[in-house]
């Protein structure tokens, strides 16, 4: 009995220590820092202040946020629009094992490398312009790179696999006979989508949206490499507060906003799981 408790205590202690030290405390620090004042030398002054949060309401900064939210929402919507039919076709395909691996590979591939690959394709003498010119559609190369459009394409390109995988996981479990039953009972295509497909795949839709929406706010190197001088995400703003402006409270408050959004989305995810009657499935396993 003593050996049992020694091993168990050691395991729980190591795991507990690691999570508390490198997850809980640093995140608590962000929360605390967001309510303190900025200090030129020591980074933080121990004075309670809501200044950092008030700073977020500054029109210029609020503008960065709304634009960043727009990018993230647009990216999520487009990934969902492209990814949903794709995940559906994938789940029905006879070669789905191999095809799934072909989605998992870009999922794990460095998104920096993939962003770089996109530069090669989009640049003035790149593949896309060359093809358009060869087809006689344009005379001069289009300025595709260093635009807001390129940032948008970059985000969709980088994050699409993160939408497809959770969608696939949700749709794969789905029994296709439910759709047939729906048609047999006289439902229209729209009704089948609305009352059968969407409710069943809702956890996958939300899980995918979390995995696309949050990174789309933070991936600072995408606008850095693909965007113009003014393309900026929330991530770029946070990065600048820590590395250039040295304003920790401002950066921490912006980062708390991200954490808050994550909390909200996770809550929606677990609520959807409960409603779809699969409390143990998917991420919650």
């Amino acid at each position: 009995m003593t050996e049992r408790s020694a091993f168990k205590t050691a395991v729980v202690a190591v795991v507990g220590f690691w999570i508390v030290a490198f997850v809980f405390l640093p995140n608590l620090l962000v929360l605390v820092a967001s309510f303190l004042e900025r200090d030129e030398t020591a980074f933080l002054r121990r004075v309670f202040s809501l200044g950092a949060y008030r700073g977020l309401l500054d029109p210029q900064i609020a503008g960065i946020f709304t634009r960043s939210m727009g990018y993230a929402a647009g990216t999520t919507a487009l990934c969902l629009l492209i990814g949903y039919p794709f995940a559906f076709l994938l789940a029905r395909n006879a070669h789905r094992r191999l095809l799934l691996v072909l989605i998992i590979i870009p999922f794990w591939t460095s998104s920096l490398v993939r962003t770089y690959a996109l530069i090669i394709v989009l640049k003035a003498n790149g593949l896309v312009n060359a093809l358009l010119q060869a087809a006689g559609l344009i005379q001069e190369p289009l300025p595709l790179l260093y635009t807001n459009g390129a940032v948008f394409i970059g985000l969709v390109y980088t994050l699409l696999p993160f939408m497809i995988l959770p969608l696939y996981a949700a749709i794969e479990k789905f029994d296709p006979r439910l759709v047939e039953a729906g048609y047999d009972l006289g439902a229209s295509r729209l009704q089948v989508l609305r009352h059968i497909l969407l409710p069943v795949s809702l956890p996958g839709i939300i899980a995918g949206s979390i995995m696309v929406f949050l990174p789309a706010l933070g991936l600072f190197y995408v606008p850095d490499l693909l965007g113009g001088a003014k393309s900026m995400l929330l991530g770029n703003y946070i990065k600048n507060q820590f590395l250039t402006a040295r304003n920790w409270p401002a950066g921490a408050a912006a980062s708390m906003l991200l954490t808050f959004l994550m909390g909200l989305l996770l809550w929606a995810y677990f609520a959807s799981l409960r409603r779809s009657g699969d409390p143990g499935g998917g991420l919650a396993r």
């Binding site: 168990k8 794709f86 870009p106 090669i120 991200l258 994550m262 991420l283 396993r285």
Partner: protein, 256 residues
């Protein structure tokens, strides 16, 4: 007709995902520095990598960080998965929940939280802080991979070992661990890939004296397209490809 449309659609998506990568790989063998046209096959950009001391150093640093942090993360993660599955202890749900928070939270939040933490503790950022941070973001992936595997176990096997007089450690060492080995290896490979490819967290927690490959690539790419970067990126892609296939194969083999 409907079937054809579906196939065309899938081909288009795979084209979208793979075409840029394919172009990158092809260009890494293209014998020209500036033109985008094909000027003949060459290994010259790969050969030039071998002469670039700075790139080789950063590659060495990256491999070292990835190796150490993936091994430690796998060790702790394996124990954690077993503990979460077998033991009931106070704070169990909270700790497991925090692992999910790590997995879902945006990299940038983790990067800045660890940066602040290390600076306030007075730790100099560099190799040490990189390893600690990489272990932390790899940990949940290891735990989830292995936890899924333990959940499939026949609990009677462990009970049998106990009945035969095995202690908790002995049961872990001789029964649980051998059964888990494919999942452990798979978790390790994924951690290695994650660590090798990370940009955002590393960006904050590394110091000026310790350069790693993704950050080196990042600073090179900001200055434009270079054939050396094409070659380097192709190599990085190859490592990812091998890890993903190996990890996938390990999990699949074991499910049979």
């Amino acid at each position: 007709m409907k079937r054809t449309a579906g196939i065309v659609y899938m081909v288009m998506i795979y084209g979208f995902l793979y075409l840029p990568i394919a172009v990158l790989i092809v260009y890494s063998f293209n014998d020209t520095r500036f033109s985008s046209n094909w000027q003949g096959f060459t290994f010259k950009w790969y050969a030039e990598l071998l002469d670039n001391r700075m790139l080789l150093d950063s590659l060495g640093n990256s491999l070292l960080v990835a190796l150490i942090s993936s091994l430690v993360a796998t060790g702790i993660g394996t124990l954690a998965a077993v503990a979460f599955h077998r033991y009931r202890f106070p704070g169990r749900k909270l700790l497991y929940g925090l692992l999910y928070v790590v997995m879902m939270s945006p990299d940038i939040v983790m990067g800045i939280s660890l940066l602040m933490f290390f600076i306030l503790l007075g730790v100099t950022t560099g190799f040490f802080t990189l390893v600690l941070s990489h272990i932390t973001f790899c940990l949940p992936f290891v735990v989830v991979t292995i936890y899924a595997r333990i959940a499939d176990f026949d609990p009677n096997v462990i009970e049998a070992a106990k009945d035969l007089g095995a202690g908790e450690y002995q049961a872990f060492r001789h029964v649980i661990l051998p059964l888990l080995l494919p999942a452990v290896a798979s978790g390790w490979l994924l951690s290695f890939t994650l660590s090798l490819d990370d940009v955002i967290v590393s960006f904050f927690v590394t110091g000026p004296t310790f350069e790693i490959l993704p950050l080196k690539i990042y600073s090179m790419v900001r200055l434009g397209v270079k054939p050396e970067v094409n070659a380097l990126s192709t190599l990085l892609l190859a490592v990812t490809l091998v890890s993903v296939f190996a990890s996938h194969w390990l999990v699949k083999e074991n499910r049979r």
